[in-house]
């Protein structure tokens, strides 16, 4: 039996609040990418994967006690709550559970407004800045759900929540904890939107992962969490696992601060490490949920990495970022949840909007397809060369 089991998942993204809502959109092929509505950037001509609710509404739904929180916290609290409820954890279980949360935006959605107030009017809103740092979202969500064990906050850009999953799995295997609630959350902010815009890797229109004509990514926002448990804990609680984390790997591309190496060195090493941990051969992988941001460099680099790892036998693969946008720190856990849904439904979700697939590799899956799935590999590749792979398996 697998060593690290998953007993609960929760998700909020531009294609819905909760697992059922997200699954319905994935199956119907309906994207969440749309014209900007909540962000209020002056560059309103860029499409985004926004969660279709105001921050106030998200806070109300999550049951957070105070009225004003960063959007990052609101998204995270909702998703983490769903995961914990699905796993049916008792308050005693929660009291000793470890919480590993990932974010890059943290409180920046509020900080940037406060900073503008400072620049324009000299006002220093210290109370807002107090909630800026990354650990504030982790601590607030943990307090809200009464998670009492050790807390960790990971911030490694776009691979952050994949790393949170890996860290939780390693802690369970090391015997440091029996239950780890892991995942990540990132809300839209002007800081990140303009940051990516300054890098000239955004597409103003709907992105096209693995398409020859792709020009860039669409930003998204969201959160997803998983409840990981040891076999002993599952047995004690008589819980029903829904999947397992069978492999994981993190490596560094060491090529450039933002762009991947042409041959995808970091991604290759991360995938190989994950396969080794899982005790699997490349041919055992039935589907790859690619990082597939739709930037010129990523999709080319990642395709090369897939070729290096899988040789002539590239498994079915797709990027679900044309559904959700690139959700930054939340991407790893959101895509892990999508991979688990694939395992449960025994179908793969498409790379939407891919009309002219790249030619240096097989075309990605472009419509919902039934498939026999036991092992799924998911990639998340971040700035700073941070390359992560998670392997999820059917139980």
């Amino acid at each position: 039996m697998a060593e690290v089991l998953i007993s609960g998942i929760g998700i909020v993204s531009s294609i819905g609040l909760g697992v059922d809502d997200n699954l319905a959109h994935l199956k119907s092929g309906e994207t969440g990418i749309a014209k900007q509505h909540f962000l209020k950037s002056e560059h309103s001509d860029y499409v985004l994967g926004e969660v279709k609710h105001t921050t106030k509404s998200l806070i109300e739904r999550s049951g957070l006690s105070e009225e004003d929180h960063s959007r990052t916290i609101a998204l995270g609290a909702l998703a983490a709550k769903e995961a914990v409820e699905m796993a049916d954890l008792s308050s005693a279980d929660l009291n000793t559970a470890v919480f590993i949360s990932a974010t890059t935006v943290a409180g920046m959605d509020r900080t940037e407004k406060a900073y503008e107030n400072y620049q324009d009017n000299g006002v220093v809103e210290s109370e807002v800045y107090r909630h800026h740092p990354c650990q504030d979202s982790t601590d607030t969500i943990a307090r809200h759900l009464q998670i009492g064990g050790l807390k960790f906050t990971i911030s490694t850009a776009c691979s952050s929540s994949a790393n949170a999953i890996m860290h939780g799995a390693r802690m369970i295997k090391s015997g440091l904890c029996d239950i780890a609630i892991v995942g990540g959350t990132d809300a839209m902010s002007l800081f990140t939107f303009n940051g990516f815009r300054s890098l000239q890797i955004l597409d103003q229109e709907w992105c096209r992962p693995f398409d020859i004509t792709r020009v860039g990514l669409n930003l998204g926002e969201g959160a997803a969490y998983l409840v990981l448990e040891s076999e002993a804990s599952i047995a004690r609680r008589q819980a029903k696992p829904i999947a397992s984390v069978s492999g994981y790997g993190n490596a560094n591309d060491a090529f450039h601060q933002t762009a991947s190496s042409p041959d995808g060195d970091g991604a290759t090493l991360a995938m190989q490490t994950a396969l080794n941990i899982a005790g699997l051969a490349p041919k055992d992988i039935d589907y790859v949920n690619a990082h597939g941001t739709a930037t010129l460099i990523n999709d080319s680099s990642e395709s090369n990495a897939l070729k290096r790892v899988f040789g002539a036998n590239i498994p079915l693969y797709s990027s679900t970022k044309a559904f959700t946008g690139h959700t930054l720190a939340a991407a790893g856990s959101i895509e892990a949840v999508f991979s688990i849904l694939s395992l449960q439904e025994q179908c793969v979700f498409p790379s939407l909007n891919c009309k002219q697939p790249i030619e240096d590799i097989e075309a990605p899956v472009r419509k919902v397809e039934s498939a026999s799935l036991i092992h799924i590999l998911s990639n998340s590749l971040g700035f700073g060369g941070n390359s992560s792979t998670i392997i999820l398996s059917k139980t």
């Binding site: 850009a157 800081f191 940051g195 300054s198 700035f383 700073g384």
Partner: protein, 332 residues
């Protein structure tokens, strides 16, 4: 979880990086904010890259440059930072506030991500290994250390663990507003890195164990110290010295409680050296290693001073609202 600390380096508000340098004497810092004593970065970073780098990245590269040589094969890099690259975050924010529609320079955005410190260590040293960054306030370094120790227990050999934070004028304004400098607290900055190994070397230090726990009362706290030492087959009388997360001027109640559990043994208040900041514990750990290896400490930072050989040290720091961390170190 156990590991050997085979090398270490720290940049702090005292001459901890290069203690043998000319004029390296104790610095009496006035004011609420104390700056790090920075080395000549040209010895560690290609000059062309220095100009654009944030100070915390430069400090990290200098520390790791001192520890690593061109033959080092790293298995993992684990870094903690409370606030990350502040200067670049503010620079980019200021740009957007000025004009969202103008052409924005991406450099400060790229450099503002929390994992820039760990990322640059990998990029400049060409290390393809595991690379992780934790940003959990005053537990950031502890997060990174737990990860590093896990790697050692998983059979890895050379693991770099470090932490650092930089100051920023705007953040100082906020800190004053939030009374962070009340009671004479001095806010510092700096970085420290440890090289963990599964294999001891001559004159290394053994990190025998580390623990983090939450308590609701002083009695529970006392019991946790006992539990930790008993678990490590260590009698109180075997602890030769303490390294505490406080300053000589402001000894908090938990640090006092740690001291009272031992018989008037030498106690170093590392925040008299580092000042107060999220990853100051990294400096504390480096100072503990230095004390064991060199049998010397910086006198003005001692709460209790005694000429005594030290073979075992207990390091203590608060790591959260009700959370505390203890580390047991011994001379190899």
């Amino acid at each position: 979880m156990k590991a050997y600390i085979v090398n270490s380096a720290a940049i702090s508000a005292q001459h901890t990086f290069d203690p043998d340098a000319e004029g390296a004497e104790w610095i009496n810092h006035d004011g609420e904010f104390i700056s790090a004593v920075e080395p000549n970065y040209r010895s560690f970073i290609p000059p062309a890259l220095i100009r654009r780098m944030s100070r915390i990245v430069k400090m990290s590269l200098a520390c790791t440059g001192k520890i690593l040589n061109e033959n080092t094969k790293l298995d993992a890099i684990c870094v903690g930072t409370g606030l990350g690259c502040l200067r670049d975050s503010e620079k980019f924010l200021a740009q957007i506030c000025e004009s969202e529609t103008a052409m924005l320079s991406p450099t400060s955005f790229i450099q503002s991500t929390h994992n820039t410190m760990a990322g640059q260590i990998a990029l400049i040293g060409k290390f393809p290994c595991y690379n992780m960054t934790y940003a959990h306030g005053i537990s950031s370094f502890d997060n990174a250390l737990i990860d590093g120790l896990m790697h050692i227990s998983e059979g890895k050999d050379n693991v770099l663990v470090g932490g650092g934070d930089e100051q920023l004028a705007f953040v100082q304004t906020i800190q004053q507003d939030l009374n962070c400098t009340a009671g004479g607290t001095k806010i510092g900055e700096g970085a420290a890195f440890l090289m963990l190994s599964s294999i001891p070397t001559e004159n290394c230090v053994c990190l025998e164990d580390a623990t983090t726990f939450s308590v609701d009362s002083p009695n529970e706290f006392a019991a946790e110290i006992d539990t930790f030492l008993t678990k490590n087959n260590c009698d109180n009388s075997e602890i030769d010295g303490l390294v505490l997360g406080c300053s000589v001027q402001q000894v908090d109640s938990y640090s006092k409680q740690v001291m009272s559990a031992f018989d008037n043994i030498p106690a170093l208040a590392y925040k008299s050296i580092s000042g107060e900041f999220n990853t100051a514990i990294a400096i504390g750990m480096e100072r503990a290693v230095h004390w064991l290896k060199n049998q010397e400490t910086l006198a003005p930072a001692m709460i209790v001073s005694r000429d005594k050989e030290v073979k075992k040290l207990l390091v203590y720091t608060a790591s959260g609202e009700k959370t505390h961390s203890l580390y047991l170190l011994s001379k190899c």
